[in-house]
Amino acid sequence: MSDLLQQFDLVIGLEVHCQLDTQSKLFCGCSTSFGGEPNAHTCPVCLGLPGALPVVNKKVLDSAIALALAVGADIRQRSVFARKQYFYPDLPKGYQISQFDLPFCEKGGITLTSGKFIELTRIHIEEDAGKNVHGDKNSFVDLNRAGIPLLEIVSTPQLESAEEASDFLRRLHSIVRFLEISNANMEEGSFRCDANVSLKRKGATKLGTRCEIKNLNSFRNIERAIHYEAVRQADIIVQGGTIIQQTMLFDANSGSTRPMRSKEESHDYRYFPDPDLPVLFINEERIEKTRKSLPELPAQLEKRFIEQFELPAVDAAQLTSDRDLAKYFESSTKFLKKGTPKLAANWILSELAREVNDRSWTYMNCPVSAQSIAQLVNAIGEGTISGKIAKTVFKSMVETGKDPETIIKEEGLVQISDKSAIRTLVERIVNENPAQVAEFLSGKEKIIGFFVGRIMKESGGKMNPAAVNAVLLSTLNSKKVGS
């Protein structure tokens, strides 16, 4: 299969519809809250009743500016809302208010993990349509979603693999979440992606015919869909066929793409500037104001984590893949004393991550607080507990919600590092097990594990392992002939 694709360059462009997280809709004050009785969140404007007029939501503009700044796009001083016209029951006015000729911003882009920069074509503002539900004889229209604000983000077709596409999306996803302009929940449909896929002969300049795969709802599915589509197209070309330009749907069960039953032949949307909305004027002052209030973005944050906390790149990347996770980690560092950020990162990325996943927790409202994690890591750093005991403490933290200091105290888990206490126990165990001592002396150094095990058992694991090892070794070695 990969031989088949070797002959071709894959050309991928992505179109993302990102739903903005606002209280009210783009052009009216109706609630954007999810669910609710059909048509409960409607008014004359979003119902498209005669005489109603749109007025743009300020927060949508501020969010668009924020995203444009985050990706380094050129914001147009003047952009225009345009009507995209077609008839469909979920489109009450018979047109969608979008942007066409003069979109909100152009260019800018996102740097992939590999360092490759993918330029954007444009970002524009538009309203969402309602939803149709189908019965046997009838269809049912719910306009609660009609008028929800969307940003449409279009990349140039510079992506060359499914993995690049997925990386691009993850980074874009992360940015909008960091900016707090969108929840970007793919399963719920607030971050929808369409992929335009075509092949060209390796090294050729002429682009092939592209097919659009619509409404991919997970990063994984995007990769699967692109892979499948690439092979599908390659097969056709290699057998001498031609690619028909069509819109495809991805079937997650079978992992394949299939053509969508076309609604109609290609639409003539008859775009023209919406006369009900004045030219959208965004001045420097407004852009600067937003720029000042931007949070740190994933790329910057990653860099800072590496420098400030001396984290390895892998850890930094993982921690900054999610806004809440990054906040959690950084919050924990404020409470660190003897514990290192690296150690905190380890605990957060392994033990805590597992619990968060299994128990469907969030980092934002985590029952195990960032401060607690810091305390735990501090205790290890101070030598109060061993790494092994820490796991027990952590389990308790998860189950009881108590902080480590309390748990350590209540369960008497303070590690014993007192050398004389250790020496006493070590000497006893050594004296009680002459056979094993003999084995050690005969060269079987691995038998030390036996002693460690006994000592740990006797001490309930509370003895500082490093200290135990040191004392044990010196005790055993002192029994060697001639020492």
């Binding site: 005669p50 007029l53 749109p54 018979g94």
Partner: protein, 488 residues
């Protein structure tokens, strides 16, 4: 006061008469109710009239403890049927909205109600405001009170006829290419098209969104100014609504002298009938006598204004009327076996009249792929040129004038067969809509056959105050409405 006298009163006189207790609110209401019942059938001016709905409003008004604070207290106001009213159907003169009752009041309606006005019913109009004669209504043509065989003008024909016939002192109309001014001219009343954006369009069923204006039709300039004051002003629900507030009207004769008035030469040519030419000349003399400097000036772009209008207005209309699909409201075709596609086609084709369909077709074509640049795009560009030309003229002149219409009211059926000739008669009024400037029509003469002739005055953008001042002074001098009344 006798009811004949009450029905002739201006809105201002009604308000002050009620305040001074010269007559009671019930007298006022009864007068106009009776007059409406008597005269309306002959005119076919109304689409909706209900004594019950009127009584409800009057009962509420009677509970007011401080009527003096309501500028239009007790004034009956008719509303063109393309303006949304919650307690009355809003049909836009179309079958597709037969019986449709909006869930909200247009902003102008709320403002009128808050000013103490009584919404007296909905008037007949050309369907979706498309027409210049009120012959395009699904509810029958409206008759001109001066001659029942003639059109009242359009599209606000019902409003103009009702005011002329003294069925109310005030009516609201809408003006996209002249639809307030031309019927005002044909019916011998005052019609004001405000600056685009001065009056909120929220609740006005859209025809040509970048051209539509709501405005008052009255029998005096003073009344027009009063009503304009009440209905104008920024509306946060209309993004095209201006932010400047409403205005005062001082009334000083000194105001006219030395004012520079330009007569648009392209509008006083041989296309006008003799009576109109004559009356207009008299008006010019009158203005000169008042001290103004009046001279001819050319606005060559005006020759192309009809072409621009019929591409821009129809393109916008084709889009605005897409929402009439029989799904959420309005007429739905009744075939139970129809597919969704058929539902759209049948509902729209059954519901819309011929003129509306014509304009939708033209507008759709002008926006369609491959033709946009040659038609709609070109028209937008031309419009900008016209706007600039008008602006340049206003740097030299304070006002621009012309006859409102090339002719007096024509006979019903006379022009309906040839749409183009009907469109061409809008030549006088369209430029003000394209440029967004305020314009008023006031009666300036009478034809040999006793038909009113209107003078149109245009002022610079957002200068209603000066416009109303000049119109008021001219009106006072001429005393036209004191001399003439229709026999109806």
């Amino acid at each position: 006061m006798s009811s004949t006298k009450i029905s002739s009163l201006s809105a201002k006189a009604i308000v002050s008469g009620l305040a001074s207790r010269s007559f009671a609110l019930d007298d006022v209401i009864a007068t106009f109710v009776e007059r409406t019942k008597k005269v309306c059938p002959a005119l076919n001016s109304h689409v909706f009239f209900s004594e019950e709905v009127i009584s409800k409003q009057v009962d509420a008004l009677k509970k007011t403890s401080n009527p003096e604070s309501y500028p239009l207290f007790g004034v009956p106001v008719l509303v063109k049927d393309n303006i949304c009213t919650m307690d009355m159907p809003t049909t836009c003169g179309s079958k597709i909205l037969a019986g449709y009752v909006p869930q909200y009041d247009a902003t102008v309606i709320s403002r009128l109600r808050n000013a103490g006005a009584v919404i007296f019913g909905k008037t007949n109009q050309d369907e979706f405001a498309m027409g210049s004669s009120n012959e395009n209504s699904a509810y029958g043509p409206v008759k001109n009170p001066w001659d029942l065989e003639r059109v009242p003008g359009g599209s606000s024909g019902g409003s103009a006829a009702a005011v002329a016939a003294e069925l109310v002192p005030v009516a609201l109309g809408s003006d996209t290419g002249g639809s307030i001014r031309q019927p005002a001219s044909f019916c011998g009343v005052v019609g004001l098209k405000p600056t685009y954006g001065a009056v909120s369009r929220y609740g006005l069923v859209a025809y040509g969104s970048s051209l539509d204006c709501i405005g008052p039709i009255t029998r005096s300039v003073e009344d027009a100014a009063m009503v304009f004051d009440v209905i104008s002003g920024h509306d946060p629900k209309d993004a095209t609504s201006l932010h400047s507030g409403s205005r005062e009207i001082p009334n000083s004769e000194a105001m006219v002298s030395k004012k520079r008035i330009g007569v648009i030469s392209e509008l006083i040519g041989t296309g006008n009938d003799l009576d109109t030419t004559h009356s207009f000349k008299e008006a010019v003399l009158e203005l000169k006598a008042l001290g103004a400097v009046v001279e001819e000036v050319s606005l060559p772009e005006i020759e192309y204004s009809i072409a621009m209008y019929y591409l821009i207005a129809t393109a916008e209309a084709s889009s605005n009327l897409a929402r009439f699909d029989g799904i959420r409201f309005g007429h739905r075709s009744s075939d139970p076996t129809q597919s969704l596609k058929e539902l759209y086609l049948n509902s729209r084709s059954e519901g819309f009249g011929k003129e509306v369909k014509q304009r939708i077709m033209l507008g759709t074509f002008a926006l369609s792929s491959g033709y946009y640049d040659a038609y709609y795009g070109k028209a937008l560009n031309a419009r900008e040129q016209l706007k600039s030309a008008v602006k340049r003229l206003f740097s030299q002149y304070d006002f621009l004038i012309s006859p409102t219409s090339p002719t007096t009211a024509f006979k019903i059926g006379e022009k309906i067969a040839d749409p183009l000739s009907m469109y061409l008669s809008d030549i006088g009024t369209i430029a003000a809509n394209l440029a967004g400037i305020p314009a008023i029509s006031i009666p300036c003469g009478m034809s040999e056959s006793r038909l009113p002739i209107g003078l149109q005055i245009m002022a610079p953008w957002n200068q209603e105050t000066s416009l109303l001042q000049l119109a008021g002074i001219y009106e006072k001098k001429l005393k036209w409405s004191e001399r003439y009344k229709p026999n109806v």
